[in-house]
């Protein structure tokens, strides 16, 4: 499925509000784009994205075709402990992909 680029600062101070960046490789085919025969290319989008921090919800999104190809999200999290950030996204066929990143809190 899709490849993703996750950007989490390697070392942060406790209590810092940290910026996370996620870039996911996906065409986000809208279902409104005509092919050369005038039919529409079938819709194929990521419909949701979520980020948890040691299992606790941080940020999530419900997505529509108006999200650009190769979806990009940047958001913040309060660094409370050394732990694991889990990113997951689900497409129209209900296939979910997961990627994790470690966050080290001093």
């Amino acid at each position: 499925m899709a490849r993703a680029l996750v950007n989490v600062p390697a070392k942060v101070k406790r209590g810092d509000v940290v910026e996370i960046k996620v870039l996911i490789s996906h065409p986000m085919e809208t279902g409104f784009r005509p092919d050369p025969n005038g039919k529409f290319y079938p819709r194929d989008i990521l419909k949701s994205f979520a980020c948890t921090y040691d299992g606790e919800h941080v940020f999530s999104a419900e997505l529509f075709p108006a999200v650009s190809a190769n979806p990009f999200f940047s958001f913040t999290v309060v660094a409370t402990q050394t732990g694991v950030l889990t990113f997951s996204w689900t497409d129209d066929k209900d296939q979910t992909q997961v990627q994790t990143a470690k966050i080290e809190v001093e």
């Binding site: 680029l5 960046k21 870039l23 490789s25 065409p27 190809a69 190769n70």
Partner: protein
């Protein structure tokens, strides 16, 4: 010819001379296409965590290390770590290929390697894998100056590319030079006309919502002036690429670039 007509003719020649002299962009005035984009698009290129071209480069890294073809060899098996072995390589292409006695661009080189060394099928123009490998190899030259080889065998090909650059074509009857040498910095509609330096390919183009190589861009320009575009891989394109590399000599490689 009466004297007045002769004077008129001379004036026209003088004017064309001035036009031609103005056409070449002075080194100090050269600007990357990135200089003509919005601050947000510039930032998108600069930030590796936000540049979608980095996704292609990551795919390229996997391909670099993947064994393929009848020989079961990976690029890395011959070339080692791309971070060292491919440093500065993309900045030197197109280069002269002895076997065909003609210049080849980086994509031609990748496909020759696949055919001769890996015993694999060549990658199709603009295919995902060719874009990915090109982005990954190009990335190893990022920040280095564009450095086309000083190989006299390339000269006749590059000169044909230069001639093609100035040749009017299509129903609109425009040459590349008329927009990108003579009128850069002005606008077509609301879009600024850049100088068309090929120092960031493959690029992630917002308009395409994906990656593309220089030949895709050149084909787009040709259809823009309503000309019949050369097919992918045409000798004319490689010659244009050679000329463009010379024109951008010394400008830092930006691969993978982002462009509107």
């Amino acid at each position: 010819m009466n004297p007045a007509a002769r004077i008129g003719g001379l004036a026209l020649i003088a004017m064309l001379g001035a036009f031609a002299a103005r056409a070449q962009i002075a080194d100090a005035d050269r600007k990357s296409g990135a200089a003509f984009m919005s601050a947000q698009t510039q930032e998108m290129q600069r930030d590796d965590g936000a540049n979608p071209g980095m996704l292609a480069a990551l795919d390229g890294e996997s391909l670099w290390n993947a064994r393929t073809g009848g020989a079961g060899k990976s690029c890395a098996d011959c070339h080692g770590e791309a971070q060292t072995g491919m440093k500065g390589v993309a900045a030197r292409y197109p280069a002269f290929n002895e076997a065909s006695a003609a210049p080849i661009d980086l994509q031609g080189r990748i496909n020759l390697c696949r055919q001769d060394q890996q015993k694999a099928t060549p990658l199709a123009p603009e295919s995902r894998d060719l874009l990915a490998l090109s982005a990954f190899i190009g990335l190893q030259s990022r920040g280095m100056p564009t450095a086309p080889p000083d190989d006299p065998r390339l000269t006749p090909f590059r000169e044909r590319g230069r001639a093609l650059w100035s040749q009017r074509m299509g129903q609109l009857n425009f040459s590349c030079a008329q927009c990108h040498d003579d009128n850069w910095g002005k606008h077509l509609g609301s879009a600024p006309i850049p100088q068309a330096h090929a120092n960031a390919y493959p690029i992630y183009r917002l308009e395409w919502q994906g990656m593309g190589l220089l030949q895709r861009r050149l084909r787009n320009c040709m259809s823009g002036v309503r000309a019949q575009a050369f097919p992918y891989g045409a000798q004319e394109f490689v010659e244009l690429e050679l000329f463009l590399a010379e024109r951008a000599r010394g400008m830092p490689v930006e691969t993978p670039g982002v462009r509107p």
